[in-house]
């Protein structure tokens, strides 16, 4: 296998802290191997900046294997970059060409304050989960694994919804800064399964109310979230949440 290398021009959002106004800075990188991941490319940049005595670019990451949901920036206007169903850490430089200019911005939304450079505060999503993204289970003897029969298609749908890693790309890409794909997936994952049924009304009310309180916008069915979601979560989950919320509002 031959390794090629490319040169890039990067325009990166630099912001000292939450209060700083922030602005773009331009960097040039040469000899970037196309086998590198996007984050490794940023590592190379940061080494270079450190050697020059400059402040490295702050960005979030953890697992670097597409499962934790920590990473994420907007590359040339698209959250997580141009590859569909790919987290930023799983995006490889072979998808870019020699001489490309990449504009790299943090995920933006009123509910996601920028902490530094590309690092944002996504704790609003955690608070939505705290409001109702759980099932209450009393302790006792270990229940039998298959004591509650669940039809396979339902289990599949719940698993699809559960694959959300909470990266916030849906919010970042939504023209309305809405978190409905995230909340819809979390509500669906639990309300589809029998274990989640007892609390479904309370859950839908609490999670939607918290979502609104955190300052996320209103969904107008633009479908941008679905298009950028690295886990391919379907807006069918938003439709399900709409039903759950109405049922909870009028029938509970």
């Amino acid at each position: 296998m031959t390794t090629t290398s490319i040169s890039l021009s990067l325009e990166i959002w630099r912001q000292k802290d939450s209060r700083d106004k922030g602005d773009f800075e331009t960097y040039t990188l040469i000899n970037i191997s196309t086998d590198m991941s996007f984050l490794e490319m940023l590592d190379v940049l940061n080494e270079q900046l450190t050697r020059e005595g400059k402040d490295p670019v702050a960005f979030d990451h953890d697992c670097r294997e597409g499962i934790c949901g920590m990473c994420g920036v907007v590359i040339n206007g698209i959250a997580h970059g141009p590859e569909p169903e790919t987290t930023l850490c799983q995006l490889h430089m072979r998808h870019f060409n020699d001489g490309d200019t990449l504009v790299i911005e943090p995920f933006r939304s009123r509910a996601f304050p920028i902490r530094k450079d590309l690092v944002i505060d996504r704790s609003a999503l955690d608070r939505i989960i705290q409001a109702g993204g759980y099932v209450s289970v009393n302790t006792g003897g270990t229940p039998d694994a298959n004591a509650i029969p669940i039809p396979a298609p339902v289990a599949e749908l719940a698993m699809d919804a559960a694959s959300c890693i909470g990266c916030g790309a849906c919010v970042a890409s939504c023209p309305n800064g809405s978190a409905m794909l995230f909340t819809g997936a979390k509500i669906s994952q639990l309300s589809l399964l029998p274990q989640g049924h007892p609390e479904r009304h309370k859950r839908a009310m609490a999670m939607v109310t918290t979502m609104d309180k955190e300052g996320f916008g209103n969904c107008t069915n633009e479908r941008e979230c679905e298009a950028v979601c690295p886990k391919g979560i379907s807006i069918r989950n938003i439709a399900r949440m709409n039903r759950e919320f109405v049922r909870a509002s009028f029938l509970s």
Partner: protein, 218 residues
Amino acid sequence: MNYKLTWVTIMFFIHFVKSSIGKKWIMACSGCFLLLFLCSHAAGNATLFNSVSLFQAYSDQLHGHPLIIAILSKILFSVFVIHIVTGVLLFFQNRSARSSGYKVQKRAVKNSLASRTMIYSGLFIMFFILAHTDAVSFGDHGTIGLTISSLFSSPGTIIFYIVSFLILAIHLSHGFWSMLQTFGINHPKYNPLIRNLTYAIPVFFLLLFSAIPLLFVI
């Protein structure tokens, strides 16, 4: 006790209406009502394909029931107001939820023209309706056949009407699908049908309504 229960119900409703999903439902339900009105309006207008006198007869029939007309027109007006006010409110709320825009503005979804321009197409339709009701609905219904014949004798009016129908079709193409999604109707079994209807319904109304002013040209 009873008062308290009523109060709880009212609070619940207010909470629902104020929530993000509640507003979605308001847009969808009012939109659904307006779509049904559009159907009945189209059916009435279709009499023009037969003759102006049949249309006149239909209008006379309709206005022979002043009470029904009075109630329905008030309801229709209220639904319009609800749809417009909620839509404008959503527009401003959403604009402030997206703190600041990106330097590179790009959409991941193709064909997002209709969804991006809902507020503008909607406001245009509002102006069209104001102009249209001013010219037609508030006139003398006894001579409505003559009113529209003279209205469509001017090419400027015809162009204005057809452009408006085009914008209405664009508005509907997002609105119809969006309404079903809000109602929670999104299922692989029905999605292909819904996708086809999303094109078919706007095109149907566009052709039907545009044909009417053209009737007066030929």
